[in-house]
Subunit: 90 residues, 2 copies
DNA sequence: ATTGAATAATAATTCAAC
DNA sequence: GTTGAATTATTATTCAAT
């Protein structure tokens, strides 16, 4: 049950602004996942969710944004091109 | 005061496992920043800190890893180069 | 705009049950 | 190993003050 409940949690928080664990557990119950706040607390820890500020002083649960793959090495191509331009065009 | 306190908070959580806001405010006081849990709660929100699980069922505050600036657009240069090679070298 | 004391709201844990 | 009810612990907010 836990695995699919986790998936459902991610689905719910992507779709709605969920402000509390009580709110989330209520939504899960409505979706057919019998669960209480205690379990949701554990789920949130396992899923590494966190509360982030949204507008009007509210907070919502969100997944920690996964740092993007480092692409900075690709920038070197511009330096190469600039050297080429400096060398052959000026 | 807030700015340097924020810096000190980041310094502290990088160095120690801080489990609660009470603990953090106590440390700040010891470092010469007179502050209470209420303010630390606000600071944590502003700094986008979050509790993450560490070993032995504990949690500690940590900074959310900041997603790196999106550099993916630069990759296009490779596609351009490839087209150039296909066009003029083959 | 920032802060603290008090409080309300929320989340984590314990302990028992399965 | 997973879960809920009850509880404890922790955090967020209110409201007043600066």
């Amino acid at each position: 049950m836990k695995i699919s409940r986790h998936a459902k949690i991610l689905e719910i928080i992507a779709k709605y602004d969920v402000e509390t664990q009580e709110e989330l557990s209520a939504m899960l119950v409505k979706e057919g996942y019998p669960v209480t706040q205690a379990t949701v607390s554990r789920d949130i820890r396992e899923l590494k969710l966190t509360k982030v500020a949204v507008s009007s002083g509210r907070q919502k649960y969100a997944a920690i944004s996964h740092p993007q793959k480092d692409l900075s090495k690709y920038i070197r191509i511009f330096r190469v091109r600039w050297i080429w331009r400096r060398t052959f065009l000026s």
